[in-house]
Point group: D2
Chain length 345, copies 4
């Protein structure tokens, strides 16, 4: 039985609390938040110990693992202190506010020989897992490019801009699909509502082999969109998280050019002919499992059985590396910025 | 009665022929194409004179105006020769393959004192006109940003890349909405099917006052999308040209930050509070008029009555200026490129 | 503070429990179910008294009102016993399995001078309330007809057929919109999965003045549909409960015939000319209030302040009257069946 | 080369003219309409002989086959006269205004030994053909029921009501899917716009073996719907003719009851347990062939090669038989009406 403490009872904290209490192999031992009201509200529902002081939680003997669900700016420090107290850590994404901080957290986990798990929940989303299998199995062919949109009217965050708020989801999904990280990024955007806090960002990624990806995030859009499109050279897949039933669509579609023989050449452009294949669409059944629960199950498994996290330090760090580079590009009017070399597990 | 000759009987030429014959104030006098088969096919339908030689058309006395509907690379030369023969010209978009060529065409029109009209058909689309009125009337407030997507699986062009093929539509619409052109552009993309011909491009535009716009064009996408979103600070509008009935949607939605008084400050970020207004959606009735016909009517009006074209040389040139700059950015890995100063009418 | 007991902890019971505990003016005093496991599960969440014996609940002094959320066949008997014990009653729909039973429950409420409230939750749905206002205010003109569909793949009920399971919702909404009940009904359908239990039913209603309505319910359909369309002679409204955002759409559309003057008559059918008005669509913002909560608030208000229930005995009875008549029609191959005269408050 | 004459140049006539001229094996020889203007408009496009007098057409030696595209009330008489003149006949649906008239037309075709083909165009729609194959191949299992909706705001016909205007399409599709005709029908509806001409009709059909079908047609509806749903006991199919791309959807979904063993019985209803299978959705690629053209090709084939029409007299008659019975039911307030026994080829 893994005894878990949760720090931060804003939006995600209470969801983690519910999920932890529902798991047979885990137990909600402690909760911690600066707000007494938040603690009281939890106390009414769960019999966990409560404190406003993280150190009390870290010092507790009856805690094996800590879930850090506080604002981004505190992720690194709290994670490092928890690891220092030899607790396993599940830290909400993004892992930290900078690559340097990520490295410190990763080092802290190594030093303490504890699990560092990053809450990139979408990697545990059954639709994303099926999408990944479509790539891995070769069903969509060579993955050429992805584009993702995560827009809507709010909710508007105060601590980070729309890039740091929304793009971690899409970046994590895209890197998971590609199985690697990009080499450079350009980003443009604007802060319309409040100076210095971009509410609209367009980012564009380039991979070593010429593959590309683009991400559009916005707090100021009429449509709520949560969609990732992956285009392979033999099939295409769309994950639409807003759809009721049809969350995943696999399109048996593609195009190619073929050289035309000398005799068949008729026109100026006749040396090549575009061939379009427009076949059937398949909407696979996606399991109705809750991604957050799947993630906590995986975290518990890592803590108890030592399995390597699918979303560990390196996976958390590569997302932050792109966010950091994209921020630089954003400040430089969209100039391409190289991405810091990743940590490899 | 304006006597019109059409050069180029590929996709748009025959559509122009149909529209011209339907207008009371115009007459299809000549058609010209390199292909005898294309001329014969037209001859079966319309009693116009036919030739494979543009010069014969330009020399004809019974032609007042010429519609240039040939591949992009020939637009400038043919337009200049037609203007030199003192014919009014309606040239398909893009006006030319470079800004320098645009300037030459514009100069030729000035010299000949003839009408130069560019076929940015979407400006004559009733939905786009309503959208523009929503901006001009102040109904959507200050226009903050636009984003446009024009994707699908083909049709794949041989002579130009997806940027030059598809983006002229979106750029023309966006500049029409803003009533001005951007100062810089970044573009990224990739040529997956054929070396050197980008099939996927993401472009991002910046206007002098901080407004931005983004355009996503692709020949390799599972979904056929033709959509322009305009976000104002009091309302938002979406033009979806693929929708059956609901082509235009006006969202009474917006967000703002307000400063919070000293006493109300509770948290670290409490100095500002985000306010979201999420009101009703209105789907105005859009007139079912054919944009191409509206455009030819406007062209005839310019030729006959001397009205200034809404899509004249300067409007055609500013689209090419951005395409040219975007191409530079594309070749430079997405580096921002300044846009050549426009010609003002 | 109204002290409430709940009988029946299947699907709706626990939802009622949650809602009651959230209301300031109400208190969850007792819960009752035949299943010990269900009681234990509730005990873990709420500190109410628990019993497997309804009589214990009815006999309790600390209960003012009872919510009956048991299978349909027991509604009447339990409601009558609760009323006999001088408790106010909120009974889940349908009020009873027959009109005769409805009359008995209504009489029991009269005798006990207690509130009888029927759980037609959709009447408290903000979208349905707005729809009703559109009718009442005259905005949609004279209401000509309604059609409703409530289909999907399951969930399949064991105790009642699809008509008694699903149609109460649509009938309640339709009668609420019309403000009156129909005079006759025809129903056809079939029991495909299990003999005697119709899983697909089409019912058609006729009102005294020629207005009509139709209801399609099915447990065997590929699409989950929950939609009510109301066609007035000046506007049309659609309530789509499955839609994410656009739950209510108001169409400024209509048609009419007009007589054509003698001189204008040209053809055989020229005496009349159809005029179609196809104007804008409006999607009003619908408040995000939970219908079940609104309903319990209204019930508490009736109990405490004596306000007449919007969904009292007569409203519950008229739904059962149509279900009963539709069942007769169903057994008679679709022959029209007159509907028992209603009880008027 | 089959020489074809067309009578009636309203909506369908000109479409037939276009299709006939496009076919290699057919020739547009004559056109006939009461309106001189309609004839002139055709003359501008096609070099066929023209007349206002059908008898002139029937008497012409250079006509092998006649397409009757006039109002419904004249179908039977004109078809009989054409057959009497030993012309093959393609008659628009419905074949006639009564079953008796259908029988007369069928007899006339037998007497003349000429082809009688009814224009149930949807039978030649590639999506409907695929749907039929799904039934025939057993892929959807036993076909349990169909429901169809054909609604929208107009166009409002003057000569027939919405049942006779719209339902022939759905009835033809449904009978084609089932491969047989129903035994009884009930229909309800109302004439809102003009006395005696129903603009809204709900019809319900019963087949001998318990299968059912329902059709909803309306000229007064906010949504344009053209949809046929077929529910089999192992799969379900939806044909949505309004959809852009996804015209056909095959749902791997179904439900069944299974008896539960004695020991597993827990509750009152426990003798049976509902099992729901909710698998993937497949959207097959539907060929982009024009149904009207496919139909004329089939007609020409019947005339030239003697192949039995898929939509011959019996198929046309069975649609009229149901329309006639449904009309009786409509006049009788929805009472079920038996359907006249069919003519079998």
């Amino acid at each position: 039985m893994l005894r878990i403490g949760i720090i931060g009872l804003g939006y995600w904290g209470p969801n983690y609390a519910r999920v932890v209490t529902e798991l047979p192999g885990a137990e909600l031992a402690w909760v911690c938040d600066a707000s007494e009201a938040a603690l009281e509200s939890m106390a009414a529902r769960y019999p966990a110990c409560a404190t406003t002081d993280p150190d009390e939680l870290f010092a507790a003997d009856d805690v094996d693992a800590v879930i850090v669900a506080t604002p981004t700016s505190t992720h690194a420090e709290l994670s490092i202190r928890a690891l220092g107290a030899r607790k396993h850590v599940l830290c909400e994404k993004p892992l930290a506010a900078s690559v340097a901080d990520c490295d410190d957290v990763i080092a802290a986990a190594d030093d303490a020989d504890r699990v560092l798990f990053v809450g990139h929940t979408f990697i545990f989303n059954p639709a994303v897992r099926q999408m990944r299998e479509l790539v891995e199995s070769g069903e969509i062919g060579k993955l050429l490019y992805c584009h993702a949109a995560r827009t809507g009217l709010g909710p508007i965050r105060q601590d980070v801009n729309a890039l740091w708020d929304l793009a971690p989801h899409d970046l994590a999904i895209i890197f998971h699909l590609f199985g690697r990280e990009p080499v450079s990024v350009t980003a443009t955007g604007q802060a319309f509502l409040r100076e210095g806090v971009e509410d609209v960002v367009f980012a564009s990624l380039r991979f070593e082999d010429g593959a590309i990806a683009a991400v559009h995030v916005s707090w100021l859009d009429p449509y709520k969109v949560r969609r990732v499109t992956a285009v392979g050279d033999s099939r295409m897949v769309v994950f639409d998280d807003v759809a009721m039933d049809e969350k995943l669509k696999v399109f048996d579609r593609g195009a190619s050019y073929e050289a035309v023989s000398e005799s068949a050449r008729g026109t100026e452009f006749g040396e090549y002919r575009a061939l379009v294949r427009d076949g059937e669409i398949r909407i696979p059944k996606v399991a109705a499992r809750e991604p957050l629960k799947e993630q906590v199950v995986a975290f518990v498994d890592s803590c108890v059985n030592g399995t390597r996290p699918e979303t560990g330090g390196p996976e958390g760090r590569r997302v932050v590396a792109v966010l950091e580079a994209a921020t630089k590009s954003l400040r430089a009017g969209g100039a391409p910025v190289e991405i810091a070399a990743g940590v490899h597990a």
